[in-house]
Amino acid sequence: MKKRSLMLLASLMLVLSVFLAACSGDDSADGGKDKDKGKDKGKDNEKTEEGSGDNAAELDFPLAVSNDAEAMEDGEMTVAMVAGEPFEGTLNRNFYSGTYDAEILSYFDEGLLDTDGDYLITNEGAATYELSEDNKTLTLKIKDGVKWHDGEPVKTSDLLYSYQLLGHPDYAGNRYDFIIENVVGMPEYHEGKTKEISGIEIINDQEMKFTYTEASPSILSGFWSYATPRHYVGDVMTGETTIKDLESSDKIRVNPIGFGPYKIDKIVPGESVLYSRNDDYWRGKPALKSIVQKVVSPATIVESVKKGDIDLATIPADQYLTVKDVDNIELLAQVDYAYTYIGFKQGKWDAKKKENVTDPDAKMASKELRQAMWYAMDNATIGEKLYHGLRFPGTSLIIPVFKSFHDESVEGRMFDPEKAKQLLDDAGFEDKDGDGFREDQNGEKLVINFASMSGGETAEPIAKAYMQNWADIGLKVELVDGRLHDFNAFYDMVENDDPKIDIYQGAWGTGSDPDPSGLYGRTASFNYTRYTSEKNDELLKAGTSEKAFDLEYRKDIYNQWQELMYEDVPVAPTVYRYALEAANKRVVNYSIEPGKESDRYKWGVAE
């Protein structure tokens, strides 16, 4: 299964989006955030927003199913998790790591705060929130009648419990991040110095207060609002159980509970999950009587969908042509929260100083060289021919999904080999020895080592195509070790700044927070290219400053940042992608539009 690694990556990105999607946020309180959205959320037949105008492919997918029949009383639905491997089954928001676990979680568990189309927290969920004047205190109130599947009411102490778990010294998951750390008293608690988190105050069973060290707009997109049923899973704080026992306990793996629209009836480990309706769901009675969610191999998904075995499924992009003409389904798609890019290694991670150090003498240090390489890549052809338009050339590092922040004036560097050659000529990269390849500015032979990940049938031809593109402008690019590397081997080399690598092809899931400092900041270990600049530091800092609660200000900062990235090219975005989903025509009320998560309970099937 060559696909595995790509799927893994895709999964990670999905995890990210789901996970951040779930992190609720505000908007109404702060006001105006949502106003520039030029679309009417009410309609079912919305069209996908077309990224950056002319660059986006000429595809037109709906975001919601068109069947507007009444949902059948007591319908049953089968949903696919498209995977070549079993799901892991760590069914708790604090601990899970796989995408498929996230998919399962979304059926039976939800965040206390709902999110809107920009993944910012709203007051539409099971709880409401209010932000103080100085943006440093968040007060959260749980609505009446929100009950766990076992009938117990959801209490503020359950949300506190999640924070106690995430910050616990024994916690080994990936959700202890700077947004959690931003809560006052959290670092002390995390180091085991205190037993209390001083920044979280429980007022009563339904009301609590969070105090933050720094005001940051990230709170609105990164607020953790998933409660953990303390009474059910056992309390780590009283010593009733330990983190390790909790992670592997049956309360999480066999019969977990939440307060979502569906209850878990049964799990066949790694294979399928059976849900039944949660009649006490706080929003109302869910439409379906039961749901089966099962793992279906990507090799057979299209056939299964065609046969009608599966009502909902994500479709791998390389099978788009096959699924396009299947007549019992409808295809939905939206631009994914991800982009693929070519990274240019320019330095090293300094583990002592915990920051990126750019090396001005690095092989890829020349800005012109990087720009030229971007110009040389024919991404439009790849998108059209290989993905039939499901991918299209990327332009900037803030993806078009972030309508408010994506800068449409940055047009990226479209395929233009002549311009690339010109740039190289001007910068002094010339073929002096006549072997058909350019030497560097000092006349030394220039061989650029390119690392790329295996995975998916398309990984190999794409890598090959880029190398051809670069050879066409006279750059000798060779594959590291002469082969593609699997996910772990690849990131092991990239993370540790393996000197074998000069450039690499990676992909980022951007999540729902537009703030790019986690990926491009001076102190970000994920800034794999090790690109730094003072201007960059400045802009990134400004983007999350208290001032940035002002949307226009933040927008301006991010536009400047995108210009900077366009100019400096630490990475060259290659393609944006559509996430494709197939829904059987009998499915009603189904939408993949961001912010429509709350409608899950309405999903149903018609006769």
């Binding site: 750390e181 915990k354 590397h485």
Partner: protein, 322 residues
């Protein structure tokens, strides 16, 4: 006999020990670890947190320290913690082992059920069209890569004809513990099982056919015939008794093949078992799980070969086990 089994089990200990050492060291040599990439999902995680987790799982220790810790626990029956699955390896495997064993047994039984009659037919009527047909089938089964055959079976019987489910091990809607559930499991088993079994017949058919052809020419068979024993009886009483015997001896080594085959079957038919888990753990660098699965497979082979020897000695008086 008891002594023999006991001794073999005793020999198993150093073998497993060595096996664990080798696979442990090798697994550690794989580039990256379980934490690599696991944090990519959240760019807001601090590098300190990542390091802390490596530390917590002991991933920064030299391999011998890690191995020492692992062995210390393993002798107590604790095979460590799976990073990816966030649970003890033993409980993780418990669920999968049953599936793999079921699948392997099914493959084994069906392959014998197919191979033995065909082998006998081909041997008895060697060089007739029956024989030629069987031999050709046999070479086809030998030459066809398992995954191609499994995929074709899946498409034909799963999708085009729709006779069998196309993935998974059981229909979740059916109540646990009922007869219907058992039938559902069996139904799910048919496609992967048949795909595996029909390609696993090569050795047995080939062996039986050759051996019967050889035995036919032997003196004791000629004697039996000249005494006027009817042809049918010559086969059942004289030839088969000798020829079927060594098949039991191959059993142990069949297991190695079954384990390899199960990887393909489980991946193609989304049948959650050890093979599928192995591939998942390799890509996820879940070292503890990789080690445990290899150990289990090794142990299965050891027990299988021992079983062969026991069966062999039980039915063949010439082979005595002290």
């Amino acid at each position: 006999m008891v002594k023999f089994i006991f001794r073999r089990l005793l020999v198993m200990i150093p073998q497993l020990f060595l096996l664990s050492l080798i696979i442990f060291v090798l697994a550690k040599q794989m580039p990256g670890d379980a934490v690599t990439g696991a944090f990519m999902g959240n760019p807001n995680v601090t590098p300190e947190q990542v390091e802390k987790i490596r530390e917590q799982y002991g991933l920064n220790d030299p391999w011998y320290v890690q191995y020492g810790a692992w062995v210390g626990k393993a002798v107590k029956g604790d095979l460590g913690q799976s990073y990816t699955h966030k649970q003890p390896v033993t409980s993780l495997l418990a669920g999968r082992v049953a599936n793999t064993i079921t699948l392997s047994l099914f493959v084994l039984i069906v392959s014998y059920a197919v191979a033995i009659p065909l082998g006998i037919l081909a041997g008895r009527w060697s060089d007739t069209w029956v024989d030629k047909l069987i031999v050709t089938y046999n070479y086809f089964s030998f030459a066809t890569p398992l995954f191609v055959f499994a995929l074709l079976m899946l498409f034909v019987f799963g999708f085009i004809l729709g006779w069998f489910p196309t993935g998974g091990s059981v229909d979740i809607r059916i109540e646990s513990g009922t007869f219907a559930q058992f039938m559902s499991k069996l139904h799910h088993l048919v496609l992967p099982g048949l795909s595996g079994a029909l390609l696993a017949t090569f050795g047995t058919i080939q062996y039986l056919r050759n051996d019967i052809i050889d035995t036919k020419l032997k003196d004791f068979v000629k004697t039996a015939r000249s005494k006027g024993v009817p042809e049918g009886k010559v086969y059942t009483r004289h030839i088969l008794r000798n020829s079927l015997l060594p098949i039991a001896a191959f059993l142990g080594y069949e297991i190695t093949g079954l384990i390899g085959g199960s990887i393909f079957l489980e991946v193609i038919f989304s049948y959650p078992g050890l093979g599928q888990l192995f591939i998942q753990s390799i890509t996820g660098r879940d070292f503890t799980v990789v080690t445990a699965i290899v150990m289990i497979s090794g142990a299965a082979v050891i027990v299988g070969t021992m079983l062969s020897d026991v069966i062999l000695s039980a039915i063949d008086p010439r082979i005595r086990i002290e």
